[in-house]
């Protein structure tokens, strides 16, 4: 099983069910941390957000339910994957949980194999999210090295403008734009405009304009549209 530093955070108000889950997951080689209530978990989790792992959450708990905890984490911007454990007949709740981004929704009593499969899926999602964050963070850091002028050129390039259009938009010479453009490409570690657009979209730059992601060449949008429609 998993020998990584991943931790399974278990939140269940029932002491016996909680202890049994901990034993089973530890016997399978997982690292666990168990909590008796959502608030107990939230308190501890404030210091643990960077630690890799996933959440195993009982749906029906007094005070704060599993769904409420999911919402609280979502509001706090925490994207840690959640596997819900619940009794049967919670279809509407399971729909809400899945819409809220839950990885899986298991019915108690849950078989070990089913549980491990769900946990592995959640840990894989967590790892992917974390590496995506590292990539995004890298892009943000590269953008921070750009001068304000280079950032303007980046914005123009990402929206599909060619040098001549950029020069006109920024009121400068085409030759100067070429210089800025090559600096932007170098500082962003982008080998092509396509790559630059991908990097920029990772951090939401111009993400509102979706056709530009399809415009693989730095062509003016007006020239692209007839061929697409």
């Amino acid at each position: 099983m998993s020998l990584s530093a991943d931790t399974l955070y278990i939140v269940d108000d029932d002491a016996q069910a909680r202890a049994a889950l901990v034993r089973l997951l530890r016997a399978a080689g997982y690292q666990t941390r168990a909590f008796g209530s959502a608030s107990e978990f939230l308190e501890a989790h404030a210091h643990l957000e960077r630690a890799p792992g996933c959440l195993l959450l009982d749906l029906a708990m007094p005070e704060m339910s599993g769904l409420e905890l999911q919402q609280a984490l979502c509001r706090a911007g925490c994207r840690r994957p959640i596997v819900f454990l619940s009794g049967r007949g919670d279809i509407s709740k399971s729909v809400r949980a899945m819409k809220g981004g839950a990885v899986n929704f298991l019915t108690k009593p849950v078989d070990a194999r089913e549980l491990f499969a769900a946990v592995e899926e959640a840990l894989a999602i967590d790892a992917a999210e974390r590496s995506a964050w590292v990539v995004r963070h890298g892009v943000v850091e590269r953008i921070a090295t750009l001068t304000p002028r280079e950032r303007q050129v980046l914005g123009q390039l990402v929206s599909g403008k060619i040098n001549k259009q950029i020069a006109a938009a920024l009121g400068t010479a085409e030759k100067t734009v070429k210089v800025h453009r090559s600096r932007v490409m170098r500082k962003m570690h982008a080998g092509s405009i396509v790559e630059l657009v991908k990097l920029a979209s990772l951090v939401g730059i111009q993400s509102g304009i979706s056709p530009l992601l399809g415009a693989s060449a730095p062509t003016a949008p007006a020239a692209v549209q007839p061929s697409r429609h």
């Binding site: 029932d14 002491a15 016996q16 069910a17 202890a19 049994a20 889950l21 034993r23 089973l24 530890r26 016997a27 399978a28 029906a60 454990l85 009794g87 049967r88 007949g89 108690k108 009593p109 849950v110 078989d111 070990a112 549980l115």
Partner: protein, 87 residues
Amino acid sequence: MTTLETLAHELRQPLSAILSNAQAAQRLLAAGGRAAGEVREILEDIVACDKRAAALLRHLEEALRASTRAGEQPESSLLRRAQGEQV
């Protein structure tokens, strides 16, 4: 949730714990080594969980009997008793 749904949930907790405990013990025994201490604890919990589930069912039977005698709804007294069984 209705009372019966709550009861069903209450019954699932010990059943879930029994299954996870038993499967944990199977893994510990399969791995060999010094698992005896933990397996003993697991077996104690399985026994306790089984008794808890059995008590829930006993309350259900009593409530059903009482309700057929008096023509009443057994649900509220049933729920009180069931939740009293929680650890």
